[in-house]
Symmetry: C2
Subunit: 441 residues, 2 copies
């Protein structure tokens, strides 16, 4: 059966949209009930927490460690897990089936190797994703448990380890520790495990399976996979350098150079969508906040548990600049040409992204008394589903909370559907146009 | 004679680069001498003022109204005039001769109609530009003089009118009034004339002659000209609305609604590169500063006396988004296709622009005690050759002043040469590449 026809009937965009909405609604209700006898949540706070969990954001209006019951925490963990899996699955389906218009070959390679043209194939892909996720999370739990046992009772340590492992791989940023990861900022082992889980979750399902597959088959990595790896390393390194300079060299010289570097590295890894913090974000310098905002805007890689504008978007834009400087006719990446349509998609996404941030900050600026920097930080964090905050989230008005809920949903589910889901109109009898010359600069 | 050969020998990039450098050097020396017996300028302040004048920026380290002698003011006016003419001429030459690779037809149309393949043709083009500039400035001077006579002695009024007219059309933002245009913020007539001069100067020589030519020949406007007009109107209107909302509705309700609207309109027109101000920029709200920064980044149109990333750059990027949303195969504008190379140039310029702002702000943040917002504002203003400031310019360290000097030069002369001047390598035996599919978003 033709996969296009098959999924045309299924209408995956609607399935994805309603799936996420239903997950959020159920989560809202369950959280409200499970916390009712302990510290009752308002409806908006339940909705906010459920959205934040399903959209793997990590912005909190109630303290996860102290305000939620054990059941509520478990519900949050399950919502994170389902949300993270949902995001990876949804993107992978849409990428393979709809997005890959420019590369039919690659699409059929992927869809055939996974057998997506039948229901069993769909279930098999889901199975692949679930298995990989659970394997990594289990491994992460064991690694974390081995150290957390020094700090907590065994059962409590297991609970913490599981929650943190799921939250880190899903780039959710929720933490059951009071003050997020701040109590463990000096624990090199724990922070390292968390960072590795964040990076693995942020690379995306397709490159992750490719990297594993390469070792098996001895094949070469695809250009897409190479780009994801290069951008990930580059962003972590640059983010770390700039944060080290702004936070350690300029502001805070009371801590050791190594600790300053380590904090910068952790925040660089975490800011691009995970949202854990080992330092108090409210005390970061204005220069540091600006760097964090830029990292939050870029975000993780496509088809991952991370949000943001995506590493590949920035990669394509930078590549375009590189070819322009070299005066190349084509934008070339590892012997492959980046087509017009891909550059255009990158440009469009970047503009939509920046415009959303601007308009939302503007609207929120009218509703809140906080500084523009705090508001910009909050909006960027919600849209990039990062979850870092200067601390104003719980104090926001209902209107602003609603705005953040919409931003989280749009940043997580909306953008995927918007840029991959909207069915392309068939081009009938393509018109050709004369080129126009517009001076730039 | 083949124009390419003719200009290949002339090497216009070097002529432009050295021309601007020599103009700045002479200006520095002359200003230093002419002000020596009154209030001696330091070398760096002379250099800063000369660069600011030649690059038609308007950032000031000394008060134009009170710290400069009559001769110094005249030198500034001449530098502005030569700088403004130089920028228009330089861009127009490069655009016609080098930039228009994608549209040979248009290039030959322009170069032939102006007869640029001979020395007399070059002089004729220069003549066109000079005549148009002087005509508009003379007209502006008369209009301003008619009102300024109410406030000043006739001779003094004439001096003020001439200076302001030149400064406004050249988008220089220098003013001989204490506090720039603030004393006349309520004078609808004077502010209107200034706004019209700013807009005419910011549209660019090619569209300006085209608009005049259309009336004569009854021809239709070119797509490039249409884009410039649409973007100019759109930016002025949107900037005005957002500034009105942020400044009048949110912050300052002591003044009348009309005055609030008028101030917003003036700052919207002025922020995109002119740099005049009728309100105290240091007292603008953080939200308003952010809007001004965005307007300063966009700037005026190519080949105009204005700087910034340019309206056409934003236009092409927005057009690209529009076509993506409509799922069109091509990026189409008034029946013409925007080619890959133009989109790529727009993307490259935008990235270079944003990266320059980020890195410069970062460096300046290390040298100065001022808030990040003030520094970002200063850097954006210098790079966009706007000249608005929160008031910190005179108090900056020598290092920061040097940085701003470099930014003004790069924003004015560098970017034009960088994006139009670098001789394109001839493509020998073009290699074709397979397309790569990179997921975006
Ligand atoms: K997150
Ligand atoms: K200016």
């Amino acid at each position: 059966m033709n996969p296009k026809k098959f999924y045309g009937k299924l209408e995956p965009e609607k399935v994805i949209l309603w799936g996420f909405l239903m997950l959020i609604m159920s989560g809202t209700l369950l959280l409200w009930i499970s916390n009712y006898s302990y510290k009752p949540l308002t409806f908006i706070d339940s909705l906010f927490t459920a959205t934040s969990a399903v959209c793997v954001t990590g912005l909190v209006v109630v303290d996860t460690a102290s305000d939620l019951t054990f059941y509520s925490k478990s519900i949050v963990a399950v919502l994170i897990q389902l949300g993270g899996l949902g995001v990876m699955t949804a993107f992978t389906f849409l990428f393979i089936l709809r997005g890959a218009r420019v590369s039919l070959q690659q699409r059929y390679y992927l869809s055939n190797s996974l057998g997506l043209e039948s229901v069993s194939g769909v279930i098999r892909l889901l199975g692949h994703i679930v298995k990989m996720t659970l394997a990594i999370e289990l491994f992460g739990t064991l690694l974390l448990f081995g150290k957390l046992i020094d700090y907590y009772e065994p059962l409590s340590a297991l609970g913490h380890a599981t929650f943190q492992s799921v939250s880190a791989f899903c780039n959710a940023g929720f933490s059951t520790f009071p003050g997020n990861m701040m109590p463990f900022s000096k624990d090199i082992y724990l922070t390292s495990v968390i960072m590795i889980l964040i990076v693995l979750g942020g690379i995306g399902f397709v490159p992750l399976t490719e990297i594993v597959g390469v070792e098996k088959r001895g094949k070469r990595l695809s250009p897409y996979c190479k780009m994801v790896l290069i951008m990930t390393v580059m962003l972590i390194v640059l983010g770390c350098i700039f944060l080290f300079l702004s936070e350690h060299c300029r502001s805070n010289q009371q801590i050791s150079v190594f600790q300053g570097f380590w904090d910068a590295l952790f925040q660089s890894v975490s800011a691009r969508t995970a949202g854990f913090n080992t330092v108090d974000i409210g005390k970061v310098s204005p220069l540091g906040s600006f760097i964090l905002i830029l990292l939050m805007i870029v975000g993780a890689s496509p088809g991952s548990t991370g949000g943001g504008m995506k590493t590949t978007t920035l990669g394509v834009l930078l590549l375009s600049l590189y070819s322009e400087i070299l005066q190349r006719e084509d934008v070339v990446f590892f012997g492959r040409r980046v087509p017009y349509s891909v550059l255009r998609k990158a440009v469009s996404l970047a503009i939509v992204y920046v415009m959303t941030i601007f308009l939302s900050s503007f609207i929120m600026g009218f509703m809140e008394p906080y500084s523009f920097r705090e508001i910009l930080f909050e909006v960027t964090s919600a849209l990039g589903t990062v979850g870092l905050s200067t601390g104003i989230t719980p104090k926001l008005s209902t209107g602003s909370k609603l705005l953040l809920i919409l931003l989280m949903f749009w940043g997580r589910v909306g953008l995927i559907i918007f840029f991959y889901g909207i069915a392309r109109k068939e081009e009938k009898g393509r018109v050709t146009y004369a080129d126009v010359n517009v001076p730039i600069g």
